[in-house]
C-alpha cells in the first residue's frame, strides 16, 4: 500500500506480557484495503490477544496499532469504520436480539430501526428477534454478532473464529457473506482454525506461532516459496534415492510412507528423470503433490525452526526453500 491513505490495519512491534508470560511477541502486520486477511495460529498463539489489542480492549506492553491511521487506545473514533467481534459475540441475555441491536445502534449514535430489520433479515433472525438472547443457540448468537457488526457499515470487519458453532450450512453461508462483503470493497481480517476456509477466502495471511509472526504475506507467495513437492517410485528406489540426493536442483529428499519425496522446479525434475533412467532406476510413478495451506501452516507452527526457510522465502531469499510439509504427513 502506498500513498497517503493509511491502511486499515497497521500493527508494529506489538508485545503483550502477562508477568513472565509472553502472549504476543513483537507482531508486525499490515492489512491493506480490500484484503481478506487470515490470521492463523494454534491455540494459545496470541491471536485473540492481538485482535483485542487491535480493538483497543487490551493495552499493549509495547508497540502500536493503527486502524485507518488512528490509535484505538487514544480515541474510540479509531473504531468508526471498524466492526467485528473477538471470541464469541456477547449480548445481554435478558434482552431480546432486537433490543440488543437497538442498544448497540444507540451506542453508535444511530436509532436505525429500519437498518436493524435489514441486519436481522441478513442473518435470518427476524423470526427470533423478539426472543431473549439467553435462549439463543451459539450459532444464533454468532449470527447476531454478524448483524451487530454490519449495523456499523464498517470498512474493516474483524472476525475471530466467525464460523465457530455454525452448522455446515451456516459455515457455508458465512463464507459466502464474507466473500460478498469483500467483493463490495470491505476489508476483512479474520482469525480461524478452518484452514480450508481461510485458503478459500483469504488473499493474504499472517501465521503466528508462540506470539510471533512466522509468515506474513500472500498465500500464493507462501505456496510458491514452499517449492513444488513430488513423490517418486522407481524400479530401484535405493538407487533412485542416491540419484535424487546427488542431483542439482533437487532438495528435501526423504522417504515418506515407502516413497521418495523431494522438492524441485520443473527443469530439475526433467533432468532428474533423465538421470534416473541412466542410473537404471526406471520411473513407475512421479506425481506432483499439492501443497495446501494446512501443510504449510503445520510446517510453520510445529517443530523448531521448521518455518525458517519459508519465512526467509517471504523476504525473497528462498524461492527453492524446502517445504517441510511432508514432515507432518
Amino acid at each position: 500500500m502506498t500513498g497517503s491513505v493509511p491502511p486499515p490495519v497497521e500493527v508494529r512491534g506489538l508485545v503483550k506480557l502477562y508477568g513472565e508470560l509472553t502472549a504476543v511477541a513483537g507482531v508486525d502486520l499490515t492489512v491493506h484495503a480490500g484484503d481478506v486477511y487470515g490470521y492463523l495460529g494454534p491455540n494459545g498463539a496470541g491471536k485473540t490477544t492481538c485482535l483485542r489489542m487491535m480493538l483497543g480492549l487490551i493495552r499493549p506492553t509495547e508497540g502500536t496499532v493503527r486502524l485507518f491511521g488512528r490509535d484505538p487506545l487514544e480515541t474510540v473514533q479509531a473504531l468508526d469504520d471498524v466492526a467485528g467481534f473477538v471470541e464469541a459475540p456477547t449480548f445481554y441475555p435478558y434482552m431480546s436480539g432486537r433490543r440488543n441491536l437497538e442498544l448497540l445502534a444507540a451506542f453508535d449514535g444511530d436509532d436505525a430501526s429500519d437498518r436493524i430489520d435489514h441486519a436481522l433479515e441478513t442473518v435470518e433472525l427476524s423470526d427470533r428477534a423478539k426472543d431473549r438472547v439467553g435462549g439463543y443457540s451459539h450459532g444464533m448468537r454468532q449470527r447476531l454478532g454478524i448483524a451487530a457488526a454490519l449495523l456499523r457499515d464498517p470498512k474493516l470487519l474483524l472476525l475471530d473464529e466467525p464460523a465457530t458453532g455454525l452448522d455446515p450450512a451456516g459455515m457455508r453461508d458465512m463464507r459466502l457473506l464474507i466473500r460478498r462483503l469483500a467483493d463490495q470493497g470491505m476489508t476483512v481480517l479474520l482469525s480461524s482454525h478452518l484452514l480450508a476456509e481461510v485458503e478459500e477466502l483469504c488473499n493474504r495471511v499472517a501465521i503466528v506461532r508462540r506470539g510471533e509472526i512466522v509468515y506474513e504475506g500472500a498465500i500464493a507467495d507462501l505456496k510458491r516459496s514452499a517449492g513444488a513437492t513430488y513423490r517418486l517410485s522407481t524400479t530401484n528406489d535405493e538407487r533412485a534415492l542416491h540419484v535424487c540426493r546427488a542431483q542439482p536442483g533437487v532438495g528435501d529428499v526423504r522417504v515418506v510412507h515407502g516413497r521418495i519425496s523431494f522438492t524441485a522446479d520443473d527443469p530439475a525434475v526433467a533432468e532428474l528423470s533423465q538421470a534416473l533412467i541412466e542410473a537404471g532406476a526406471l520411473i513407475t510413478m512421479l506425481a506432483p503433490q499439492t501443497v495446501t495451506l494446512e501443510d504449510l501452516f503445520f510446517s510453520l507452527t510445529e517443530g523448531d525452526g521448521v518455518g525458517n526457510g519459508l519465512a526467509s522465502a517471504q523476504a525473497g531469499t528462498g524461492d527453492h526453500a524446502p517445504a517441510k510439509a511432508e514432515a507432518s504427513s
Binding site: 480492549l57 473504531l79 451487530a148 450450512a169 453461508d173 460478498r180 463490495q184
Partner: protein, 296 residues
Amino acid sequence: MSSISGTAEGLRPGAGVAGRARRRPGVGTVYRWELRKLRYQKRTYLGLGAAAIVPILFVVAVQFRHHRAGGGDFAFASYLTKSGLVFPLVILLFGAIWLFPLITALVAGDIFASEDHNGTLKTVLTRSLERWQIFAGKALTALTYAIVAIAIDGTVAVIAGSIESGFNSVQTLSGSIVSAPKGLELVYLSLLVYLIPIATVVCIGLLLSTITRNSAAAVVGTLMISLLFQLIGVLPGLSATTPYLLSTQFNAWQGLLRQPIDWSPIVRAAWVCALYGLPALGTAFLVFLRRDVAGG
C-alpha cells in the same frame, strides 16, 4: 436452512459509522440504556420491592406491638402511634444497618461486574463510546437506582404510616411540634440528606464491582464494608472515631429535626462521605479506564 442470506438492502457495508448522518452518543445515551437494562433484571425489582415492602411490614409489626405492649426503646418510638410521618424516619434509623446499603449494592456492585460476567464489556467498548462515557452513565444509573429506592421507601412509609397512625403533626428531637405538612417536608429533606452516605455506598459498590469483576463479591463486599463501619462504631476504645465513620453519617439527617436546625452533622456527613466516596469513585474510574478487557 440457510442461516445467513447475505447483505440486505439498507445496510451499506463500507460506508462506516462516520459515513452516516448521526450524532455522537454521549453519557446520556449510556444512562438511558442502563436504566432500560435495569428494567429487564430481576435484581432491580428485588431491591425496589424490598424498599417498598419493608415499611409495610414495619407498620404491620408496630400494629401488633401496639396491641400487645406499645412503645419501644429507640428514637421516635413513642411517637409511632401519634403520627404516620414518624414511620419513614424510624425506618431510616434501622435501614442504615444493612437494608439500604444492601439495596444500593445490588445495582452498584453489579453494574460493571455483570458486564464481565456476560462478557458484554467488549461488545459495548467496541462501539462509538469512550470508556469514561460508559463509566459515567453507569455510575449515574447506580446512583439513580439508590435515589429511587430511598424515595419509594420513604413514600410507602409515609402512606402506610399515615394509614396506621394518621397524617398528624410531629414532635421534633428538640421537643417542639411541627405541623403535618412541615413534618412531611422534613421527612423528604431527611431522605435527601440520607442520600449523602448512600452515595458513598454507591461509590464503594462501583469500586468493588470494577475491581472484583464479580457481582456477588462486589455486592457482599459492599455490605460487609458497611457492616464493618457499624462494628467499629460499637467497639470499646474506638469511640473517638465514631464521628468520622460512614455509619455515623447515616444519622446526619437528625440535625434537620432539631430547632433550630443543626447543620453540623450534615456538613460533617458531606465531607466525611466525600473522603470515603471520592477516592473510591476515582479509583474505580481509573481502573475502568485502564483495565484490559480480556474475558468474555
